[in-house]
């Protein structure tokens, strides 16, 4: 295996094979795997800063770095939970979604920040007709409640942008079975989101 130096001075000493193998090697303490994993986890500050900028930079640089550190530590501690169904970056992205939304809530308790409610925050974040950070958080949590076969089809349909025909071929099932799992998954999502909305309404009314 040769060491290649990339144009920006980065080095890649481990081929990008199964990400689960990379994590296993890194957790065993193999230096090259650790270096490769560190390089991959640069996606955390990158995705987080992009998210912050997209939503009008509600967090300053220091706050952003603090959240990035929290995410990196949480990711490291939960690496064994990575299921390998997608790249590490996609798995890590969920941490960024949750922690960013939480950081916006916490800002209400920070000495310098104001106490924004979800509704007020949505008004100041400049993304009309797009889901707010809290919508995205709720949807990710709802997606986690799907059965494995439903989640698989929903992710292939939307995240991998596959047609039902392609999904059926990939999973070795009929198109109707793929559709049945997909629509069953959507119904479950609908129920979950309705339940979440109902819970929030109840909490507000107290």
């Amino acid at each position: 295996m040769t060491v290649r130096r990339e144009p920006h001075g980065e080095t890649e000493t481990v081929p990008r094979s199964d990400d689960r193998d990379l994590i296993s090697q890194a957790k065993r303490g193999e230096p090259r795997a650790i270096a490769a994993l560190f390089d991959r986890l640069r996606c955390v500050p990158r995705m987080l800063s992009h998210r912050n900028r997209t939503y009008g930079s509600p967090l300053d640089t220091q706050e952003l770095e603090d959240v990035a550190q929290e995410i990196l530590i949480a990711v490291w501690r939960k690496l064994e939970q990575f299921d390998g169904r997608g790249p590490i970056e996609a798995w890590v992205h969920r941490f960024c979604v949750f922690q960013f939304a939480q950081a916006l809530r916490d800002r209400g308790h920070a000495p310098r920040g104001g106490g924004w409610s979800d509704g007020e925050l949505e008004r100041v974040l400049p993304r009309p007709n797009e889901p707010s950070p809290f919508d995205l958080e709720a949807l990710h949590l709802a997606l986690d409640t799907l059965e494995a076969d439903e989640a698989e089809v929903v992710r292939l349909k939307h995240f991998a942008e596959k047609s039902f025909l392609e999904i059926a071929h990939a999973l070795g099932i009929s198109q109707n079975t793929a559709k049945a799992r997909y629509y069953r998954g959507l119904r479950r999502l609908q129920q979950r989101l309705a339940q979440t909305t109902s819970n929030r309404t109840s909490e507000t009314a107290r």
């Binding site: 560190f38 992009h50 550190q69 990196l72 939307h158």
Partner: protein, 239 residues
Amino acid sequence: MPHPSQHEAFVRRIADEAEDPWEALLASEYAECDACGEALERLQTDGVTELAGKVEAVARDERESLRARGTFGPEREKELVARALAPLVAAAQSESPRSAPSPSASPPPSLARRHLLLMSGLAAAAVGVVWIATRPEEQPDPRLGPAGLRVLAPLGAVAQWGEFRWDARVPTGGGFAVEVLDEHGALIGGVERIEATSWRPPPEQSASWPARIRVRVRVLGAANERIDAAEIEAWLSER
């Protein structure tokens, strides 16, 4: 070949009557009929289109995030990752193997093996440092942030919390803040401002801490503005 009328009638009936029309279709003689599936999709539109749109928005958000360039730049990204994870890697390597062997366990590692494990742990921690040290431009030590902040203790497994210590370049009139967080990121202790580079948590504070904590030290300017921060994890080794 046009969809047979009896299939169409069947699909309409199950869309109206069955609790789960798709399960009813899969259980029927038309389970493999793609045209029936397409017909059922056309009939089932209440709320589905909007919800599918929301899921698509989540997916689009992920795709955009994965492609994004961010605002930190490659070198700062590397510094942030190393600062967060190098201490955890080092602590994990120094912690294993730790448990006392049972009578039926295999013999403890030889001295040579233990030496190899220790060196592997140190090498792993060094990777985090060397990894970001390979930069072309000259700057103050980037591994430690703009104020050279480095948390020295507690670090990883400790017998007791003891004195918290750190090292940093402090501007005139500056100081530090120490935040102790639990695993959920909730603030459970610390001190708002201190001029020394060490702090011993009062027993009435540390007595209620969990076995595993995160310690965040901030460098503050004369006006309490934040200049630098570093965070590590520590845990009690025997509890």
